[in-house]
Symmetry: C2
Subunit: 330 residues, 2 copies
């Protein structure tokens, strides 16, 4: 199978290692993989085959796609939805769906749209969605009055993912989770959903962890003390070579998530990215000629994958499978 460039590739061995590694710490339903990281039902199926059959989603589109792919055993939409049309789409999906709510209006609209299960989203320090811990119990009562089943709480400690000192990371996650557990006691239900790749092994307070990026990795998370391997690369071709000392590759910031900065070229330097080019420099460029291929490590995996139509699973140079990125858009 010839791979056109630019393209995303996933190294099979690293992927298998990452899935096995997280499963050793978070077996079965202790991990609720977040599909927003990879947006592919084919890749989600690999996680389901490894025993993780409950998934986290960020968009209605992700929930629809997972349900259509037969992966709808237990789908958490870990995000508020207020729009009537989007709620109607959600209510029409044939799957076991739980929606995050953080307001009375959200509760009312969810109930009106035929949603039957919710989690109370609690703010644990990240300035984003989530109700104050003290008010979570009251919102749960309101939800029950609307005949919604309240399965528990969620609270994402996103501001703590990248704390490099492990002792500090544990201490601060414990503090955030104490807020969530207090809310959980008021709310009731079995689920305390939290965490991400950054805190997957230190957040021992949540009943389930919503990690996703660990599956394929990126340059940002690679700076943490984690056992995951880099599995995702952007494969590019050299289209120009200057005697002044640079190479030009045929992909740039339209093929890469750029919010964490430039990609990494393990053999040399990334000078800059433009729309459809990356300029590379350093002694290693002597070893490359026109139309040669090389691999860049994306700085941020989630938005990188969301820019592509497909990922190619490779074993060394050989293409062995394709993961269509079928959960994109909204």
């Amino acid at each position: 199978m010839a791979r056109p460039t630019p393209c995303l590739i996933v190294e099979r061995e690293a992927l298998d290692h990452n899935i096995a590694t997280i499963g050793a710490t978070l077996p079965g339903p202790r991990l609720r993989p977040h599909v927003k990281a990879f947006k592919s039902t084919a890749l989600a199926r690999r996680l389901a085959d490894a025993g993780h059959r409950n998934f986290t989603c960020a968009t209605v589109r992700e929930v629809e796609g997972m349900a259509a792919a037969g992966l709808g055993d237990d789908l958490l939409l870990a995000n508020e939805v207020l729009d009537h049309e989007q709620l109607a789409r959600l209510g029409a999906i044939e799957a076991n769906i739980t929606l995050a709510v953080d307001s009375e209006e959200g509760v009312r609209r969810a109930a009106a749209a035929g949603i039957s299960q919710v989690l109370i989203d609690v703010e644990v320090g990240l300035p984003r969605g989530g109700i104050a811990p003290d008010l979570a119990g009251r919102l749960a009562d309101q939800a029950r009055r609307h005949n919604l089943e309240v399965r528990g709480v969620m609270g994402y400690e996103g501001h703590l993912m990248m704390i490099h000192d492990r002792v500090e990371r544990i201490a601060r996650v414990e503090k955030a989770m104490s807020l969530l557990l207090r809310a959980a006691a008021d709310v009731g239900g079995d689920i305390v959903s939290a965490g991400g790749t950054g805190t997957y092994d230190v957040n021992t307070w949540a009943s389930e962890i919503q990690a996703g990026s660990f599956v394929v990795g990126d340059a940002h998370y690679a700076t943490l003390d984690h056992p995951f391997r880099q599995a995702l690369f952007l494969e590019v071709s050299i289209i120009s070579k200057s005697p002044k000392g640079w190479l030009v590759a045929n992909a740039g910031l339209k093929a890469l998530g750029m919010d964490h900065g430039d990609p990494i070229w393990p053999d040399g330097d990334v000078l800059f990215c433009s729309d459809e080019h990356t300029t590379l420099a350093g002694p290693a460029i002597d070893g490359f000629g026109l139309d040669d291929r090389l691999r860049l490590i994306p700085a941020h995996v989630d938005p990188t994958i969301a820019k592509h139509e497909t990922m190619w699973l490779v074993d060394g140079e050989e293409t062995i499978d394709e993961f269509p990125i079928d959960l994109r858009h909204w």
Copy 2:
């Protein structure tokens, strides 16, 4: 027509103003609009209707799409292509196509793929594609020996787009273009193609300007002394509101090009973007409630548009047309 959020909207009045404004300075073929900025044949057709029927493309996919839409009068692929499969695709397109070349290998492969017209791509200071000005004439001779028609030169002064001092901008563009004109004298042909939105009115040396971003604008180019108006916005809905003083909108860095930083909210502050959220703050949030809509200005238009399936043309709040973003991917 109900617009789902998040979505890209284009304000009709600003769009019309931008197209009319550039046409006053660069009428007809003096402007060769760069479709990479907006990746939509429907929007390209508006430019063709305004008299600009020659277009610039950055990818094979863009050339294919423009040709299929009947906009193939004169398509310049302003980028090197070395890959045999991509060259075969290019050779198979029924349109008037000109390819940029900057190497002997590129010339050989273009000729072998049935390409008939080229421009010599000249490096004028941006460390990216392009041959040294002194070598351009020799490459043109080689191209002619391969029976390629050499239509002239191109040289993109991308490093000069954002010089805020107009006098300095003019002086440095003149210097860069003197390199290109020297190459043009050696190369022959009628075309001297260069420029972009940043230099559209100061680059008086090129025979045609490859501007694209001016069509809809972004926060980055808005800092220049240009007469263009902001036409493109990301429309989002509020899904959460915290008594601590922030709003959460339902779109983030997967809906925005982030290489130039966060989007701008004209009414207040953007605290940060995450994958599917933007957190907003400032006094103006008091005026917004759950499910209200607001508009963000993307920091960089080209990669923002490339993340979406469609743009909605609006007149105030009313949706009046749709521009499918049909030239995405590679």
